[in-house]
């Protein structure tokens, strides 16, 4: 369908549009117009990607400057999905407009997925593919070839040089498969085609890491212009991605390997001195001149990229004491040796980079400045030595990266040395964690460089948390609820077992047999009533293992087996995928199955349980992080000091986003239905921290349930949804706002009506485009509108920071591990009872 948002014509590739999709586009357009960053939350399965793409493509085509779109997603499958959506959209546009637009859309993924070289592509590990590819395609290999030496090259890569560099692939959208196919047909490397074509693309779709990880971003995303529109999809975990990209763990083993690498380098230098002294001399001369000149060789094939060095530093010359190759290797060796001796501690040490540097200088006379250039110098050396078996130098590179980071950043990082893996361990296995505490550091260049950054996901509540922890100003933060013609999911908060004892996975009670039995019963009851698939999420592997073994001893598992097959997720990826496959098979046939998994595991993040693969999701316990971890503690402290986020606020935010992510797994569209059970007393107070589309549908009657009550409600719900789904409401023509509210998707006629109504209302309200009246905050008048008013705290425009939700306000004291406040609970219950009684008598 075609419609207009203000003056912009949008072509939407489906005949009907959901109200929330329309609202989403309006807000997106507002952000792009004003220029700035925004945070948008839209329920999973409501076509977020397609609305985003169709609006931005329309915007690009409408505006003369054609701002480029960089769309970042998390996993391969999501990238492929987005590419397919884009392709369908462009096909639709061509059909509607009657001509083909000049448009390029490409996806980028690792070499491993895009390699065509007959032997390299057979390698299993991504690192090996990368290394082998480099050994065939690096600049010096080509030079050697030109000199007439006999070296292996990749014909696919070299063919690219024969083509016009601005037209390696024709216009149009290429999915990864298309790209591979095209590469095969034209004998050109898909990976390098995509990479070199990036400056000429209208839409680029790739993984977060290409933009966030400073080691990769430098190489891949450097040339993107400033006015790009950057979208981070599925961004609820973005702060962790940022932190991981700047954190390094060093073990004794990696130091040993690094020493070996340094030894190899030394030998190579000796060899080269004998054979080709001139080359080393040239490098030396270059370095004397300054990094900037040497940097001309910072090509796409650099052995490793360097963590963010400030620009002014790059123009400086390498410090004199690591200019000569042999000096540099001695320098590295000394640093590694220091780290090795440093690892020999029997107690935990935490220190800041400045303190580490001071100590280092005292003992080894290594100063900050040469340390800072370590990574850059190593790159240059490797290039000079023309090393091909680069994977051997991985640990050495890690140490060099560590050196550079530790000398570059004074705050926002912490060194934690843990001599033992666990508290009980007797044998020392020291790990030096160099952890980034500030998620804003990695993402800062992105926000600074690009005019519009959109952060979006299905579960990103509370919305004001992300601007805080990522340290950016948001122009629009918005959460949309889901418009549904029927109640298609049932969220329940279960706090007590059948015996009225409180259920919680809190630390004090998690081993309590009664609690474990109650959880077992809950699972048993739901296994009984749920058709097909049931997914269970536990807070941790440890807890899952414990509870399963206790269930085994109690005989709970035997009872469950009567109804469903049980499958378990393990940390091992292969085992898990096997379990998943079996689970799916079991759901297709017969009684169905139960999948026991972990809230922060692989399953909770990337796997969809649509339709019969997931009819019930059970969250057994609130997925709080392991709060005793030193890294987490350090981060919490840092956030309290820098961003004034209380520890409890962050922990509960983190737990709830993971819980929401788990819940979102079962509902992947409007025709889907499912039961969501949150089984922990701690959810009771935190339900307002769930995304709006879930929390808005939780009525008071669905909270603080006992197992029996929950089962009763679930039974009723299942009977309701079992009725045939009528589409009448959507097909009936709409004449007023009320008719529109009854629909969960609009045709173009409906949309026009809606736009007319909105326009009229705006005219009455003084012609202001914004939403001054809280009742009008949403472009869509949904059935849940009445409830929205109560929840309006989650909805803040222009960053006006309200506290999130009514409940969160009085909820600062934590409950995550405290004693159960039975009296308070009881009081609340009696209150509701009394109210209920009054209600009935009235």
């Amino acid at each position: 369908m075609r419609f207009y948002i203000d003056e912009l014509e949008v072509l939407f590739p489906y005949p009907r549009i959901y109200p929330e999709q329309y609202a989403y586009m309006c807000d997106l357009k507002r952000t792009l117009d004003t220029g700035g960053h925004c945070v948008l939350e839209m329920p999973s399965g409501t076509g977020k990607t397609v609305s985003l793409l169709s609006l931005i493509v329309a915007y690009q085509m409408h505006m003369p400057e054609k701002r480029k779109l960089i769309y970042c997603s998390r996993t391969m499958s999501e990238i492929e999905k987005a590419l397919a959506e884009l392709k369908a959209l462009m096909r639709y546009r061509t059909k509607e407009l009657g001509y083909t637009e000049e448009f390029r859309g490409l996806g980028l993924t690792s070499r491993k997925n895009l390699c065509l070289h007959p032997s390299v592509k057979r390698e299993k590990s991504g690192a090996v593919v990368d290394a082998r590819c480099r050994s065939l395609t690096a600049g010096f290999v080509k030079e050697k070839k030109e000199r007439g030496e006999d070296v292996d090259v990749c014909i696919y890569h070299d063919n690219l040089d024969l083509l016009d560099p601005s037209n390696l692939v024709p216009t149009g959208v290429f999915t990864l498969d298309n790209l591979l196919q095209y590469g095969e047909n034209h004998k050109q490397c898909p990976y390098f085609s995509a990479r070199r074509m990036m400056p000429w693309c209208n839409v680029i779709i790739y993984s977060y890491h290409y933009l966030l990880d400073p080691k990769i971003a430098e190489r891949v995303s450097k040339e993107l212009s400033k006015d790009c529109i950057v979208v981070f999809d599925e961004a609820h975990n973005i702060d962790n991605v940022c932190i991981e990209s700047l954190s390094i763990d060093i073990t004794e083993d990696s130091l040993r390997k690094a020493t070996r690498g340094a030894g190899n380098l030394e030998r190579k230098i000796e060899e080269m001195k004998q054979n080709d002294e001139q080359k080393l001399q040239d490098e030396y001369q270059k370095l004397v001149q300054g990094l900037a000149d040497a940097g001309t060789a910072r090509d796409e094939e650099a052995f490793m990229a360097n963590p963010v060095l400030p620009d002014d530093l790059l123009k400086e010359a390498i410090p004199g004491n690591i200019r000569r190759a042999e000096h540099f290797v001695a320098f590295l060796k000394r640093f590694i040796e220091y780290l090795k001796t440093r690892m020999k501690v029997l107690h935990v040490i935490q220190e800041t980079p400045p303190s580490f540097l001071a100590h280092l200088k005292d003992y080894t006379f290594i100063e900050k400045k040469p340390l800072r250039f370590c990574a850059e110098r190593l790159t240059s050396l490797v290039r000079t030595l023309e090393l091909t078996n680069i994977e051997d130098y991985q640990p050495l590179q890690e140490v060099a990266t560590f050196a550079t980071l530790v000398a570059t950043y004074e705050s926002g990082f912490l060194l934690i040395l843990e001599p033992y893996e666990t508290e009980q361990a007797q044998v020392a296995n020291p790990i030096l964690h160099f952890t980034c505490l500030d998620a804003a550091i990695a993402i800062k260049p992105v926000f600074e460089r690009f005019a519009s950054v959109v952060i979006t996901s299905g579960t990103i509540s509370p919305l004001d948390m992300y601007p805080k922890i990522l340290d950016f100003p948001a122009v629009v933060t918005e959460s949309y609820s889901m418009s549904l013609s029927r109640k298609s999911f049932l969220p329940l908060i279960v706090t007590r077992g059948s015996d009225q004892q409180t259920m919680s996975s809190g630390f004090q009670v998690r081993q309590d047999p009664n609690v474990v039995r109650n959880y077992g019963n809950l699972l048993y009851e739901f296994a009984k009533i749920t058709p097909d698939g049931l997914v269970v999420f536990f807070p941790s592997y440890l807890y899952m293992e414990m509870i399963i073994s206790m269930w085994q001893a109690m005989g709970v598992l035997d009872r469950i087996w009567q109804y469903k097959l049980l499958l378990v997720e393990t940390p091992d990826a292969q085992e898990t995928s096997l379990a998943l496959e079996t689970y799916r098979t079991a759901c297709e046939n017969g009684k169905g199955a139960i999948l026991l998994c972990v809230a922060r595991g692989k399953v909770s993040e990337g796997i969809d349980f649509d339709h019969h693969f997931g009819r019930t999701v059970l969250c057994m316990g609130a997925p709080f992080q392991y709060t005793e971890s030193r890294i987490l503690k350090a981060r919490l402290e840092f956030m309290r000091e820098k961003y004034h986020i209380k520890e409890q606020d962050f922990l509960s935010f983190d737990a709830m986003r993971h819980a929401a992510q788990c819940l979102g797994r079962v509902l992947r569209g409007k025709d889907d239905y499912g039961i969501m059970v949150l089984a922990d007393r701690r959810f009771q107070k935190k339900r307002n921290q769930l995304p709006k589309w879930i929390s808005a549908t939780i009525t008071d009657g669905q909270t603080a349930l006992s197992t029996d009550a929950a089962v009763g409600m679930a039974k009723k719900f299942l009977r309701d949804v079992a009725q045939p789904l009528s589409n009448q409401a959507n097909e009936r023509p709409a004449y007023n706002e009320k008719d529109l509210q009854a629909k969960d998707s609009w045709s173009s006629k409906d949309l026009e009506l809606h736009q007319r109504i909105m326009k009229g209302r705006r005219a009455v309200g003084g012609g202001d485009e914004g939403r001054q009246v809280p009742n009008e905050q949403s472009y869509m008048p949904t059935a849940a509108a009445a409830r929205d008013i109560a929840m309006s705290g989650t909805n803040s425009v222009n960053g006006s920071a309200k506290s999130n939700g009514a409940g969160a306000r009085n909820e600062y004291e934590d409950e995550y591990d405290e004693e159960v406040d039975d009296d308070a609970l009881l009081a609340v219950e009696t209150m509701t009872d009394v109210q209920g009684a009054i209600g009935t008598t009235l």
Binding site: P319, R323, R324, H327, T341, K344, V345, L346, Y363, K369
Partner: protein, 290 residues
């Protein structure tokens, strides 16, 4: 096995002296099994490693030869110290570096680290980098035993020229520290190149209490004797006893008679300051106690 010790002020001392399982003392052959808490010491001359007990036994009586066969170093007990790094080569390297650093430290030349780091005492960054490289070069030479005498000589020359030698064995060291002239290049030996010249402050004139007002009288001159009616008082003891001096009196009278000549009201109004105004009006910052 090595342990690092946390000292009281919160920093830690790295210590690799505890024996690991495979360590054997080359002198008494004791191991971690035979004597728990076995600790090793390292000689700072020849970098041989023997256990603490052997050090006490062999060196308590005074200077002795290193007990490792084939090593002829004569050592004192104080030459044996605890080990910092596990790798003895690094231990030695760091010692050498310490020596080179201490010698070539720029503070020895009377320089102070400026705001933006040491590179600012050099003419340009290149000079600083060259200095770093030279230092590294020397350290590496000493470590890898290349040109040791030449390098040592360079260092010695540098020390001598800049008056840094304190070695009592060397009679030359008794030379007095060279006197630095204000215009001298900071490094008197010329080893470190590219340093900025120390700025020589322009010589300040002595403070003039009269701030330019001269005693020269413009309109009159005092002669030795002026004719006057009170001449007879001049040599009278009674008047002189009171401290009265006829010459002073004459000068004051003349000054009063001629003061104000050469001062024009128009000029004063135009704001032009006449340098010959009385002192009190010239000093603008005369303290006003209130």
């Amino acid at each position: 096995m090595a342990t690092n010790v946390l000292t009281q002020n919160g920093t830690f001392r790295m210590d690799a002296s505890l024996a690991s399982a495979s360590d054997v003392c080359p002198v008494c052959k004791s191991t971690a099994q035979t004597s728990p808490n076995l600790r090793f010491k390292v000689s700072s001359k020849c970098y041989h490693r023997i256990c603490e007990g052997c050090v006490d036994r062999k060196f308590s009586a005074g200077k002795a030869q290193c007990p490792i066969s084939g090593c002829h170093h004569m050592l004192w007990k104080r030459d044996w110290r605890l080990q910092t790094f596990e790798d003895i080569q690094v231990e030695r390297e760091v010692d050498i570096r310490r020596r080179v650093w201490r010698t070539l430290d720029l503070t020895n030349l009377g320089l102070v680290e400026p705001e933006g780091g040491w590179e600012n005492v050099f003419e340009d960054l290149r000079g600083y980098n060259d200095y770093l490289e030279m230092m590294e070069e020397m350290a590496m030479n000493l470590i890898t035993n290349i040109d040791v005498p030449a390098t040592n000589k360079k260092l010695r020359d540098y020390e001598t020229a800049n008056g840094l030698r304190k070695d009592k064995d060397d009679p030359k060291a008794l030379l007095k520290a060279p006197v630095r002239q204000p215009g001298d290049y900071p490094d008197l030996s010329g080893l470190i190149r590219g340093l900025k010249m120390k700025k020589v402050a322009p010589k300040q004139a002595a403070y003039d209490v009269w701030e330019g007002v001269t005693k020269q009288r413009e309109y009159f001159s005092l002669s030795a004797k002026h004719e006057s009616s009170w001449d007879h008082y001049t040599n009278k003891k009674a008047t002189m006893a009171g401290g009265w001096n006829v010459a002073d009196y004459t000068e004051e009278s003349l000054l009063r008679a001629f003061s104000g000549l050469g001062v024009f009201i128009e000029n004063e109004k135009g704001g032009k300051m006449d340098m010959r105004l009385p002192l009190a009006t010239i000093a603008p910052h005369a303290d006003d106690v209130f």
